[in-house]
């Protein structure tokens, strides 16, 4: 374990475990992050060094840590932040040094249990970090929504360009990184790139924090999925959370936990969320509930999204529990084709991908439901967590 050690949350315990952080010169830091090959852990797997170089080349850059963890089935960031807040704060210091930023921010959901822990941790250090309490909405933690929240108090995605690395907080080029990405930076600055590459897949090195059916584990990247999730008696696996895709159990037995492998299987590693669906439940009913949640979480800004996602969610619901009609199913196919790529942010793209993967993986159920035979699992207890509306 690199990130999730036995260390307690205080600065003294943190330094006893990892040693004190001394910041190497900026050029050396950038080279180390690049040589380490660190990919962002917020979902897209973007090379951290590349963003850093762009941001660092601009005037008066800023850094924003994304500790919101908007995916309802993810627990990894909140575990990391509550158990090891100083790793993330060290990471912010490293990121700021690497891009030459004096303006440093950290965004969390307003109701996050990690907030008091971070406040206590910040009180132990001399490090100016501005904490932002973001409303708990799915799209509020998309990076341009966070920029907008810091700049104006409204956490809704913005039209791009400009991307945050071009123009973000107070129009400054802004490095946005996930909390886990920052924690890895804290260790790369201490131990160097060769150490970082000692574990994990050579192209996507290091360890990953995963949330597997609600439990957080740290594993080297490249681990076979079957070794981290219990696939016995399961009918499908959702990988990557609600921005991810369903894959069949047969596929789940084959893939390893890398962006490369999961992409090749038509899926996505995303932020490391794995949910297994027991044989007794109905994948379509589960999908319908999440599709309704995602539709409800649209930011109400873009026509194709605020019209398309509710229409899609209602059609998936009809497919799952009735009333079934052919015209709705024809429309569903059309909507799944016209909605992606037409929002300001990628929220509609993720929702459509999620539904499309369900229609493919649960194709037999779709056929049965269409024939008027919904499965027995339609009334089984729900498996995928969906936050209650208006929870914050």
């Amino acid at each position: 374990m690199r990130l999730l050690t036995q260390s307690g949350p205080t600065l003294a315990e943190h330094e006893a475990m990892h040693g004190r952080l001394t910041l190497p010169p900026r050029v050396q830091l950038l080279d180390a992050v690049e040589a380490a090959g660190l990919l962002g852990r917020g979902g897209a797997g973007f090379p951290t060094a590349r963003k850093m170089r762009t941001v660092g080349a601009g005037k008066h850059p800023a850094v924003l840590g994304n500790a919101c963890e908007g995916e309802p089935a993810s627990r990894k960031d909140v575990q990391l932040l509550t158990r090891h807040p100083h790793l993330v704060l060290d990471g912010l210091a490293v990121a700021a040094a690497a891009v030459g930023a004096k303006d440093v921010h950290l965004a969390l959901h307003a109701d996050s249990p990690a907030l008091p822990v971070l406040r206590a941790a910040l009180a132990e250090r001399r490090q100016p970090v501005t904490l932002h309490e973001v409303p708990r909405r799915y799209t509020a933690s998309e990076e341009t929504a966070l920029i907008s929240f810091v700049n104006t108090g409204t956490a809704k995605p913005l039209f791009t360009p400009p991307r945050p690395f071009e123009q973000g907080i107070a129009k400054r080029p802004t490095l946005v990184n996930n909390a886990e990405t920052l924690a890895h930076l804290a260790l790369i600055a201490r131990h160097g790139p060769a150490w970082f590459r000692e574990v994990g897949d050579p192209e996507e090195p290091g360890t990953l924090l995963l949330t597997v059916d609600g439990a957080v584990v740290e594993v080297p990247s490249g681990r076979p999925l079957r070794q981290v999730a219990d696939l016995g008696g399961k009918q499908a696996v959702l990988v990557g959370g609600y921005f991810g895709t369903w894959i069949s159990v047969a596929q789940a037995h084959e893939v390893t936990l890398t962006h490369r492998d999961l992409r090749a299987a038509g899926g996505a590693l995303g932020a490391g969320i794995v949910l297994t669906l027991p044989a007794g439940s109905c994948g379509l009913v589960e999908t319908a509930r999440v599709a309704a949640y995602l539709a409800n979480e649209n930011a109400g800004q873009c026509g194709p999204c605020f019209n398309g996602l509710p229409a899609i969610a209602n059609a998936v619901r009809a497919l799952a529990v009735g009333p079934w009609d052919e015209a709705t199913m024809v429309a569903l196919d059309r909507w799944l084709g016209v909605v992606p790529g037409r929002g300001a942010c990628h929220h509609p793209d993720g929702a459509v991908r999620f539904v499309l993967s369900a229609l493919a993986v649960f194709a037999q159920d779709v056929a049965a439901h269409r024939a008027g035979h919904p499965c027995a699992g339609a009334h089984a207890a729900s498996v995928l967590p969906v936050p209650r509306r208006g929870a914050a």
Binding site: P157, L158, F159, Q301, C302, G303, P304, C305, N307, G308, V338, R342, G343, A344
Partner: protein
């Protein structure tokens, strides 16, 4: 040059589809779907007119 819609500003007035039907179609809710390929030279003039005519200035001409 390419045409893009800022979907946040777009309010489905639909003028763009009238002025540039070769490149813009409307979905069933009245919102434009725009071809994101480079604009052919002969359409650039009409594209500029469509962009200027949009009441919310949501249609953007972006240089490659």
């Amino acid at each position: 040059m390419r045409l893009r819609v800022n979907p946040i500003e777009c309010a489905a007035h639909g003028l763009c589809a009238e002025l540039l039907p070769e490149w813009v179609s409307l979905d069933e809710w009245g919102y434009p779907a725009v071809d994101d390929q480079p604009l052919p030279a002969q359409l650039v003039k009409d594209a500029k007119r469509a962009a200027a005519a949009c009441p919310t200035l949501a249609l953007k001409l972006l240089h490659d």
